[in-house]
Amino acid sequence: MENKALVAVDLSENSLKAVDYLAEVMSCHPKARVTLLHVIMEPSPDIVIDEEQRKQRVEQLRTEALQLMEKAGERLTSRGISEERIRLLIQVCSKPVSVAELILHEQKNGGYDTIVMGKRGMSKREQFLFGSVSSRVVREARNCAVWIVD
């Protein structure tokens, strides 16, 4: 049986921990396929008025994301998951969207068995004000396992 895992990666330390954990578990699974997903939000025109500045910001974030994804990919290959079984996916959103919704959408469309995420360790107050991506994914995911790595 092929096993497909979707790893949501942000710039936090814990998302790399999540990659390590997945690599450890999947290393003995020769048919495992792993997609690393990173979401970039274009700044709102209400905040960054100049279009050129917004584009520059996205490019900067894309560069940072690529570095992160390569780092994450190396952690997977170093544990025996071959490169052809790893997919890097960077999604740039020009409109505000829920990252949790994007992850769930990708899981459904790609038929992933497992979603893996790092826990950001938000405080109660932060969860109230900003919402938690991982909490929402746990709550709304269907037909798949969700691993939250702390």
Binding site: M41, P43, S44, P45, D46, I47, I49, P96, S98, V99, A100, K124, R125, E126, Q127, F128, L129, F130, G131, S132, V133, R136
Partner: protein, 322 residues
């Protein structure tokens, strides 16, 4: 309008006749230099500046807001508020939490257009000045700030709760519904507080004002607004905020401290603020106290949408107004 006609209009709407040369401003970029007695020429209309609006937060005399002018429309003498373009970014304090906030004239202009037919929001329109600044021209609302409206009530809490609060709560429900409509249009108010609701003099309607704050996108975009709505509900239910130090000093008249206040009864955001008002005022029904407790340290579940809040709040109105 030539200068002589303008001076005639200015004199008509001023208490004192105009002296010297009239300053007509078409580029509002340097808003600090726009003074009382100047005339703004915007979108083919003329507005006499009467002065700067004051911050006036929570009943205190505050700093002048140089980018917000009190004006008179020289066409018909109607009072208006003109908000000039001022971009700023700062850390906003939400209790003990800090969040980066941005002032966005663009956002407020967009919302004004979207809520043009909604009486629960301030109304106005946007024009561009000679330098391309997005200037908002707002109708002045005759009314009192919700903060002052509640603070001006002089009665015991129990009397307030049984006689005035049912109507206040009913109006709050309507105001929350209005915020729900805003969220439905993918917009947030951004600065919900007790002095950003005006209680209209003629209709008694609770009207939202000042929605030019915005934030970086978050997973729950409306959390900041729900935080504000919780504060307003708490303020209205308690006829003011109640803090632990107030209790240990001298409890307000009508307050009955029935049992000790536990940490789980306190606000999630404000260290000493009491959320579990039923412990102070035992006649507050369980249903309403249950809503308040979603904003307490002990809460395990938070409201994420206005609809969730309304689903719990509307039955409270039915209990209080049988």
């Amino acid at each position: 309008m030539n200068e002589a006609e303008l001076i005639e209009r200015v004199d008509h709407f001023s208490r004192f006749p105009h002296r010297g040369k009239l300053k007509v401003v078409q580029d509002t970029s340097e808003f600090m230099n726009i003074k009382s007695g100047d005339v703004l020429e915007l979108g083919g209309a003329y507005y006499l500046v009467r002065g700067d609006e004051m911050e006036g937060r929570f009943g205190l005399d505050g700093e002048p807001k140089f980018w917000v002018k009190r004006v008179v429309d020289l066409l018909d003498g109607s009072p208006k508020i003109i908000k000039l373009v001022f971009h700023e970014s700062f850390m906003m304090q939400l209790g003990v939490e800090r969040i980066r906030c941005f002032r966005s004239p663009r956002k407020e202009a967009r919302i004004l257009e979207k809520v043009a037919d909604d009486p629960y929001f301030m109304h106005g329109f946007t024009v561009f000045d000679a330098a391309g600044n997005e200037v908002r021209i707002l109708d002045r609302i005759r009314g009192v700030k919700f903060y002052e409206f509640i603070n001006n009530l002089s009665m015991e809490h129990e009397t307030y709760f049984h006689t005035r609060f049912p109507d206040v709560l009913s109006n709050i429900v309507s105001a929350v519904e209005a915020i729900g409509r805003l969220h439905g249009m993918e917009e947030l108010h951004g600065d919900i507080r007790n002095d950003h609701i005006l209680v209209e003099k003629e209709t008694g309607r609770y009207t939202w004002i000042d929605f030019d704050y915005t934030y970086e996108w978050a997973e729950n975009p409306f959390g900041v607004d729900l935080f504000g709505l919780g504060n307003i509900l708490l303020f209205a239910t308690g006829m003011g905020f109640h803090n632990l130090p107030d209790l240990s000093a001298c409890a307000p008249e009508g307050m009955q401290v029935k049992s000790c206040v536990a940490p789980s009864d306190l606000s999630l955001f404000f260290k000493h603020r009491i959320i579990n008002l039923q412990k102070l005022f035992p006649y507050i029904p369980d249903e309403l106290n249950h809503v308040l407790m979603h904003f307490a340290q002990g809460a395990e579940v938070f409201y994420e949408t206005t609809q969730e809040l309304l689903d719990d709040l509307k039955p409270c109105v039915e209990i209080l107004i049988p």
